[in-house]
Subunit: 719 residues, 2 copies
């Protein structure tokens, strides 16, 4: 491959000048950055490269933070469940929390800001019925109902930034002071944050890009009394709470939030919860605030002739790159960690920025870079996974993090990254402005819609969850498939119908979650719009427990469309005859083995019109059903694999009655994919595996040739 | 074993006199019966044996039935779901039904007795908004809401008795007329049934026992348009419906039932549904009626100096042997089919009768008695399973069914049954009036309580259901265990608390079902009574989804008692640390392998107080937890096996804090059991397997000896 330069950011460190120059050369890097724990020395800063500098807005200034403890960031937290055994009931509401992180807020009157709830009935206990003992940190409920269970929702200060806390504990930083997060909603903090940035900008003339890590509020990350993670939600707005915020909310939205609106029975409005109106209002309110404040900071950066880059993570809460206010911030670039195709698209699809950058794996840390290990293997896996998505929507830049000196000691890795960076530039330069061909347009339908573009079924970023991986596979498959993908909410459908150009809708998730939809499926506007849409030719794919809410004898509200429903135990008396698998079916054509991951139990076909494609463990795993001119397809789960990527593509083309269209820009071999770019008359055939693959390649007219690809090879062709 | 006589009923048939005498002798039979398709000739009737004659009350007299078609039995049935695509919406409400069985009732005004329901909203459509076309058997909904789904609940005549229909279709009886069931609630039928019985009694002087098969209403059994079973519910009161019944109900209970009270969204009040008040009222109303009518028939039988025996099955609806009105009927005996220990106890525990009889397997039918097969094997399996239960509560008699001439051709079988009948008499004679020792008392807690004694998790009698077997194992284990078993309802607990002598409560089932309890768990009286009871020393065992209803952040409402809850996807953000299995635990002590059947996904331990005994597939399968002086035990499923029988016993003793009591009248080997009868100072050591077993046997004081048992041997000892 031709040696090229640019689009690559390297971490560097002190006393590493000549090696940095060498690696910049070999990897074609044109930007350098510091990392947590590394600094760039002046000589490095003078190299022919853009200089990124990590910047924290709301932490890392304890001198200031300690002067204004009342401006420390806050959280609403819920105690454990406490059974009323004796009178009075004493609740140690801090039980289980990490006292280095959490301090109860006694500055504001608990009677006004806290809530004691009888969880057996759901009733709020009148404030006159309880008191707080500030010496013992106990709530005393004077007349608790015997054997009922009570919780306390209390307002607390968060006295330690979660990322700093995590790094501190993980790396045994011992006496190093704890970074206290302060809240820019408060007057002193707000002023301080701006003044400090102004000063910093003037003191850092060599910096070209201010890499905000990130802005004001960390995603919710709460530790337990053993100093281990207790609660983590990458989307959690927990740390954005304060009395000031609650007061401002009431003023702006015209009603007061209850602690329960935030605490949410201990679920804290996890992204898996169907969002309440109060919560949607709240996050909208925070987003507006964050946008306004970020805009001010970005203006300062621009005034200093620098670029503002946002790290998508850590204190990213409220920025919502796919939200309504992101555009206003004026941010130049977003950088984020690329774990797979989904996270790549999460970054590369972000609108309203000049460029996006992905931080690739592995991190140059001793957990991967140790003697005897070959980091090139992880790099190759990461690259192949991410590359699929790059072919659909490339990042503008890639980069790495950690200790460059460590990576330097692994020559095979250095060689491999040299190839990767060249390949990345080849892709990015070639297709930068070319829209890839998509044979089909799919809308992911859930409670969140566009706001959570490429962000469904995530708890902690990059972590596998048994309850999520069988759904997450859908996004991962789509991230690199020749399909147009959009995310729509139930409200979108109810208010505007299904967008005109959508071929297929996917609804995927466990019953009751925001991704399946829960009570949204009781809304007859939703079900009637979708039934009509499918009947007139649309394709509806349900995965897991789609459209599920038990109502009027149905569990899947679109059972008639899907041709299947789930047995809850109430209709065992009704015989389920339709269990025979159809001999061959378009959807399963290339499959040698089917894997539905966790799947769903007790799904049955409604009648003889349902084509049962896979029936195992006495349950339908895969089926299709006609509904007027449209079709429903049911899949019990779809963990990511190349087989399932193909299965999903086939399911989409089948659902949309577009089977005849599938073999355009198409590879017969499931390990390969074809990406075509009509505007530049090019197409690429990609081998997603590490083995040699032979595949039939179909062009845009359906003509085909057979080609052989080397392991992980891309072949570019002119159309 | 000593040769004995009595307690055994044989089927016989025409022209089989000498062989009948021979088999009576060898098996010690003292009663003879006819069967479906066989008759006893006069010579046989003169043998020294009681004669049972099968008798049908409400069918088998088509001449009468055809004269009074308006008195044919009725059903409420629901149509399929029909999507309103075009206007008007025409609903072929008979679609899917078997027209040989079902005729719409046009004698009574559909506008008054039928219901059209918008299942998308749950709203009833005003009768003026629809009409019935009696020519096409269609309901026409004039202004259906587009894309809503509609059902019709219609009143139908059932023109073919379900058992007759089943036998007719299964055996290809061709032109044989269909038995039309008539309704003794109607005036002519009522009179006819009594007159006919009177006449029959006078014409059958040789009959000693009138074996009613059974009385008035068949359990719900509806066939589909292909003549196959469509809906079967062994507890279904479907066929007891009629306009007359509905009118009488309204008069008696003071309110009218809606069709939906019976149709129940197509679930037809399956025994798995938490019963509504209307349904409980309805079945109570039917039970009273049935009791009154049966009482009259029994009086006629008694007047003729004969005994009245009831077959527990077929048209048994409303008799409810464990209900409030059974006593009033004056029935002498109940006979039923013994499939396992549970069904044996279902029969043998029935109160208010002089004797009980079990019909053992195999049936003397060609499906088992064919050349090359050894029916003794099935007989042995059936016997070993049933014998466990016999040792706890013996039947008074056993019997067989089918063609005696067929059995006669299998000498090994004849030999085996000779042993079985002797062994049965030995057991029954020995322990007839002796209460077996029980070390522990357990109450099965569900919506039905006593009414469904030994009848939980049954759909069609004797059929395995994937959704039920992991719960049914509990009853099967208990049926032969040295435990006192009672069945209590949520209402019992709310009204009277937990009975004083109960050591352990078991709540087992899938969420929402009557056996788990569904919305009953929102009743704070229930949860507080149980929490207090366990706290003060009670044991609570939850199997599957016990106490489950999603409410205030908990799924298991007794989560705190059980020490576990189920993750629904809303609290994935909360780390679940407590996954490590405890090294050894009393409950799992004798287990080599654990089998939880279907189990339940995503169960997690609440905290460090929970002892996780088994954690597989990222889910707690078995755990215990202290709660005050009591304990909770969670088991994800308990299919029947000897291992699980032991596991359940251990779980009960552990939950009740009675571990030290367990090794009284106890066998160390899980294939063996000890049954002690203190009042007669005897005990039996039973080998439940077909292998030689060595076991330590503990007596009532805990002293032990080691003994060896031959395959399936019982050793009787004096205490």
């Amino acid at each position: 491959m031709k040696k090229t330069t640019g689009r690559v950011t390297l971490p560097s460190e002190e006393n590493f000048l000549s090696e940095t120059k060498e690696l910049m050369e070999r990897w074609g890097a044109d930007a350098l950055r510091d990392s947590d724990g590394t600094k760039l020395d002046d000589e490095i800063k003078q190299l022919d490269a853009k200089i990124y500098s990590t910047y924290f807005v709301a932490r890392g200034n304890n001198e200031f933070a300690k002067k204004h403890p009342e401006e420390t960031q806050q959280l609403y937290l819920m105690s454990k469940y406490n059974t009323a055994i004796n009178q009075p009931l004493k609740i140690d509401f801090l039980d289980g929390y990490f006292l280095d992180q959490i301090k109860p807020d006694y500055l504001h009157n608990p009677k006004e800001w806290w809530e004691v709830i009888d969880r057996t009935t759901g009733e709020v206990v009148e404030p006159r019925e309880w008191d707080v003992n500030q010496q013992t940190n106990e709530v005393v409920v004077h007349h608790a109902k015997p054997w009922h269970e009570y919780t306390v929702s209390f307002l607390a200060f968060m006295t330690w930034d979660p990322t700093h806390m995590y790094n501190h504990i993980t790396n045994n930083w011992g006496d190093e002071p704890h970074d206290i997060p302060f809240d820019v909603r408060q007057p002193h903090s707000n002023q301080f944050a701006k003044d400090y940035l102004k000063q910093w900008l003037s003191e850092n003339p060599d910096t070209d890009v201010v890499r905000f890590t990130t802005f004001f509020y960390h995603f919710t990350l709460v530790f337990n009394d053993l100093g281990k993670e207790k609660f983590v939600d990458w989307f959690g707005y927990g740390a954005s709470i304060s009395v000031a915020a609650l007061e401002a909310f009431a003023k702006e939205k015209g009603y007061r939030l209850r602690p329960e609106d935030i605490v949410d029975k201990g679920y804290y409005n996890s992204t898996f919860r169907v969002p309440s109106k109060a919560y949607l209002d709240y996050i909208d309110f925070i987003q507006q605030f964050v946008a306004k404040e970020v805009k001010d900071l970005v203006a300062l950066v621009h005034d200093a002739d620098k670029e503002a880059m946002m790290f998508l993570g850590d204190n990213w809460i409220g920025t919502e790159p796919y939200g309504d206010y992101f555009k206003e911030m004026g941010i130049d670039a977003v950088v984020g960690s690329v774990g797979d195709g989904t996270t790549l698209r999460l970054i590369s699809d972000i609108p309203h920025v000049s460029y996006t950058e992905g931080r690739f794996l592995p991190y140059f840390f001793p957990d991967t870079f140790y003697k005897g290990n070959n980091p090139a293997i992880e790099a190759n896996e990461n690259w192949l996974t991410a590359r699929r998505a790059l072919m659909r929507k490339p990042l503008d830049r890639i980069g790495y993090g950690g200790y460059l000196s460590l990576a330097y000691k692994f020559p095979e890795f250095v060689n491999y990254i040299e190839k990767v960076t060249d390949e990345f530039r080849m892709i990015a330069d070639t297709i930068k402005d070319a829209k890839p061909y998509s044979g089909i347009k799919v809308a992911i339908l859930n409670s969140w819609g566009k706001l959570r573009t490429w962000q469904t079924h995530i708890v902690a970023h990059g972590k596998r969850y048994k309850q999520a991986y069988s759904y997450h596979g859908i996004l991962e498959s789509l991230s690199g498939s020749a399909a147009d993908v959009m995310f729509i909410s139930f409200t979108d459908v109810i208010e505007n119908g299904v967008p005109e150009d959508v071929d297929v809708i996917i609804n995927a998730g466990d019953e009751g979650t925001s991704f399946s939809g829960g009570a949204s499926w009781s809304d007859t506007r939703l079900t009637t719009i979708l039934r009509e849409w499918v009947y007139n030719g649309g394709g509806f794919i349900g995965v897991g427990e789609p459209s599920a809410i038990h109502h009027e004898g149905r569990y899947f509200q679109l059972a008639t469309v899907l041709g299947v429903d789930k047995e809850l135990g109430f209709s065992l008396s009704t015989n389920k005859y339709f269990t025979e698998e159809i001999v061959s079916h378009f959807i399963a054509e290339d499959m040698t083995e089917l894997n539905f991951g966790e799947g769903v139990k007790n799904v049955y076909a409604l009648g003889e019109n349902t084509d049962v494609i896979s029936y195992t463990d006495e349950s339908v795993q895969l089926a299709s059903s006609p509904f007027g001119k449209g079709r429903g397809v049911y899949i019990s789960g779809l963990p990511y694999s190349q087989e399932n990527t193909r299965l999903l593509m086939r399911a989409m083309y089948y659902a949309a009655h577009k089977e005849a269209e599938m073999k355009k820009w198409f590879a017969s071999n499931i390990n390969c994919e074809v990406h075509a770019y009509p505007s530049i008359q090019k197409y690429a055939v990609v081998n997603n595996s590490n083995d040699i693959q032979e595949t039939v390649v179909y062009d845009g007219k359906g003509n085909n040739t057979t080609i052989t690809l080397q392991p992980s090879e891309i072949v570019w062709e002119e159309d």
